[in-house]
Assembly symmetry: C2
Homo-oligomer: 295 residues x 2
DNA sequence: TCTATTTGATTACTCATAGTTATTAAATCT
DNA sequence: AGATTTAATAACTATGAGTAATCAAATAGA
């Protein structure tokens, strides 16, 4: 029972389940149509499951077939990952880690963490992918990345979240702006400037926190631009289109005609958090979590 | 690359990984030793992974081979579950659910919940298994059950937990005991009796709660017996070996020479909780969770 | 040290079956 | 009614899984 079935059968089944058309699926598989017909039939008989309903001129998935399509797709994606990972082990690597991160984490936090980790585990291969907060959650759920670094507070069920680095905010001004660290007192001094901010699609909770800063300073800012990455914010500030408020750690790594004034006497902070899926079985993931969370 | 490999290869690999002996593994697979040698070799070449180290007179798994053994074992167990489930769908069932529960939940809570659920979903097949708290957590992690009903408070990462039913405690006495509902005031009236309790291995947190009751009544009980199931507790009480404290809902379903006095004016309660793994993809599981948690 | 035994790899064969081409049956469209 | 598209069936081919026989190497035993 379910004994003569081979991977081939499952692959053929998935192809047919996609096309719902024997000839086309067979073509895509580079086999003949009768060959496919026979393999599918054999699979149905061997499993004792009707996978397709053959109607007059169209093929449809049964309930059981639809279920199988979903589950098998996942299973084989997972199987591929397993083989890839085993290959790495075979080549002397201890494993690999696919990381996602918001751009604002790349200046300070990520390099530091990775250096520390790589020191301890030199044979772990890294893939780095900058992506926004929501994309990272998506990628985690699809097992496309192992770990993400986000600025958000709530995550869906199945995702773990832990703070990694807390940062102050800084005011960003053109270099020739009259305000300086010494004559700066509080934000009300820039209440008539126009502001350039990260788009709220970047992170709802990040955006809200920035708005709290304005509340706290008791004025409503004129926002002239929303944009999605730090360098375009800085470019706009440099060109005199306004001023900005960003996480302080972004100060590093950019050399532009701008200056930072750290807002360390307001209570708002932005926290970079590490997120990962608790159903992920990548064996080096645990190392990373321990090495980062346990300081 | 990793293209000509079939399920057969993986099955052979797992057999050899277990035996670490070509001839024996081949025997167990009902094929000849050269056949096995060739298939394994082919698998190693096709995947580009050295799976075994052939020493003088013994075969050992490589690092990559060991990893593969673990992961593939899981994957194929999962694949079997998927096929089983698809078969149920094929036979007109909507799916099946494997439940674990502590014995004390069987009297009142489980039947009520299941009746309500079965009404809505008549084509879901149930498997019921009485097991203690820890066993259920184990079974969940191994995907041997879909849902558990436990009396505990903390569960490991990856397991979800939600309260289902809160119960008072009751004092259990032999039928001919002088204490009755009308002349009972508080537990100090039985402070000189010996007590029969659930073994603390049943649940750490349950045991602690019962101890709190004694603290609350300001006496240290003489405990004469620890046992693991309700009916043996009742049997011992009936036979005059002592008195007991148990969840009130156990009153139902037993017809013995004992009587219950509900301790509803002490603050302690015991909560039956539903637990499940958040990596479980059984499609009917979600129904059950919704139907039970959302009252 | 020589022989017997146990190990997995190699070789040469066969036989089951995946995949082929050619055809049929049924339904739908002109 | 004839043309076309669909999947199933039938008969054939050839790939490669599995086999028996043998080899090479490494012990173990006398």
């Amino acid at each position: 029972m379910s004994n003569q079935i081979e991977l081939r059968h499952y692959k053929y089944f998935l192809a047919l389940a996609k096309d719902l058309h024997f000839r086309k699926a067979a073509e895509r598989l580079y086999i003949s149509q009768p060959g496919l017909s026979r393999q599918i039939k054999q699979m149905e008989e061997d499993l004792g499951i009707n996978l397709f309903e053959r109607h007059n001129r169209k093929v449809e998935l049964t309930k059981a077939g639809l279920y199988l399509q979903n589950e098998l797709t996942n299973t084989f994606k997972r199987l591929d990952d397993i083989i890839d990972h085993a290959k790495l082990l075979n080549d002397g690597m201890d494993g690999n880690l696919k990381l996602g991160y918001v751009g604002s984490a790349m200046q300070l936090v990520i390099p530091e963490l990775l250096l520390k980790y790589k020191n301890k585990h030199p044979n772990v291969l890294f893939n780095l992918n900058e992506m926004d907060n929501d994309k990272q959650i998506h990628a985690l759920l699809n097992q496309e990345i192992d770990v993400g670094f986000v600025r958000m507070e709530r995550v869906p069920r199945g995702i773990e979240i832990q703070p990694v680095f807390e940062d102050t905010f800084s005011l960003v001004l053109p270099k020739d702006h009259p305000l300086t660290e010494s004559n700066f007192n509080d934000l009300s001094q820039v209440k008539d400037e126009s502001f350039i901010l990260f788009d709220s699609s970047y992170s709802e909770s990040y955006h809200e926190k920035v708005m709290q800063i304005f509340d706290h300073s008791q004025f409503t800012p004129l926002i002239s631009h929303y944009t999605v990455n730090a360098s375009s914010i800085f470019r706009l500030v440099e060109s005199g289109f306004g001023v900005a408020i960003v996480p302080t750690s972004l100060k590093l790594g950019y050399d532009m005609g701008i200056k930072f004034i750290e807002l360390d006497n307001i209570p708002q902070r932005t926290t970079l958090r590490m997120v990962w899926s608790n159903s992920n079985t990548n064996p080096v993931l645990e190392n990373l979590i321990n090495s980062i969370i346990k300081k």
